[in-house]
Symmetry: C2
Subunit: 210 residues, 2 copies
């Protein structure tokens, strides 16, 4: 299909598609003349995915590109591909002093031991967790660390459900895309469900007060 | 204290503090001369909070301002204040057609009924959830809706832990700040823990394969 049809099919404006092409979020079509290229269903699907990662998942262009690259670089075992995809989600950079970092890593280690988790101190998820814990500490909310075990237990249950969603998928393509979509959009879904659950817990708790 | 001391105390550069003042993220100091103002511990605390919301929580300036305003507008019951604070977190705007919206709301209603939740269809959390579900559907991952109950159960457990973190706090100020910090930074923390849990589940599952 031509660019105009690709736009109609995916619901993404032509100017936006061109922007994604320039940013490497979408692979080039097959050139049919100096000014024209042909696109296929793979492009439609990828456009929808990019749209979802950016608009609903809230990823930056750079993060979305890394995710898309991870999906395309399908080398190695599924575990390796999943790790690669995860590697590019999260992990904010912020200055944390050495003493705080060690305090946070100690807390994470204690929780990991209870849950039977292995973790690399340089993995983006752990860097992100260190940042959050240090930030809570700076705000004098370091008592939140006492609840890390409970949150980790909930995270283990979520990860179990995450893996159930992969059951029945047969191709690596499907497993990887489902895993990425489930992880990025899943974060937004879990945050939304958490708000609804909090509001209900809050109503039960405080409406009795007054 | 003067601006320079406020900067030293909070670790936030003077130029950034001035930016936050202009953006309404920090209240003005007490004017002592046409070119000088005096700041206090409240400003130090607020600066750290704003920093955490923006850098670690990943909020936009506009969202952070709404959160800060919600903390300051402490009228009504704790439930009302919490609702106000939550009201400003999440809820992305995106076009969803009426049929998809109804499909998503039906799924949310079914889950809410099982969990004993009440919800308003216009609340930001529900709008956000509708967007995510419709986005999954557009990506042909609508089967994820089958797992909504399981994710909602995990969200209820998280909300329980969230409320435990408020135990022992005595002032409304503390409850509201803890709730906001716990919600915004908590989302990042839960996402990070979910990644670590996924990586461990993935290693267990796939390393056996090959």
């Amino acid at each position: 299909m031509r660019m105009a049809e690709l736009s109609a099919e995916s619901g993404v404006p032509v100017a936006t598609i061109k922007y994604y092409l320039r940013e490497g979020l979408l692979s080039a079509g097959e050139r049919t003349s100096p000014n024209q290229a042909r696109y296929d269903e793979h492009h439609v699907r990828r456009l929808k995915l990019v749209r979802a990662l950016l608009d609903v998942g809230g990823l930056s262009i750079a993060s979305a590109r890394k995710v898309v690259d991870a999906i395309d670089e399908q080398t190695g075992t599924p575990h390796h591909i999943l790790a690669l995809a995860h590697h590019n989600l999260g992990g904010t950079a912020e200055h944390v002093d050495e003493e705080s970092r060690r305090w946070a890593l100690d807390a994470i280690s204690a929780t990991a031991q209870k849950r039977g988790w292995k973790f690399g101190t340089d993995s983006p998820a752990v860097v992100s967790l260190v940042n959050v814990l240090c930030s809570m500490r700076r705000l004098d909310h370091s008592q939140l660390v006492e609840y890390l075990d409970s949150y980790a237990e909930a995270a283990d249950r979520i990860a179990e459900v995450d893996f159930s969603t992969l059951d029945g998928l047969t191709t690596i393509d499907d497993v990887v895309e489902q895993s990425v979509v489930g992880t990025v959009l899943g974060d937004v879904m879990i945050a939304a469900l958490r708000r609804i659950a909090q509001q209900n817990a809050s109503a039960r708790r405080y409406d009795n007060d007054g």
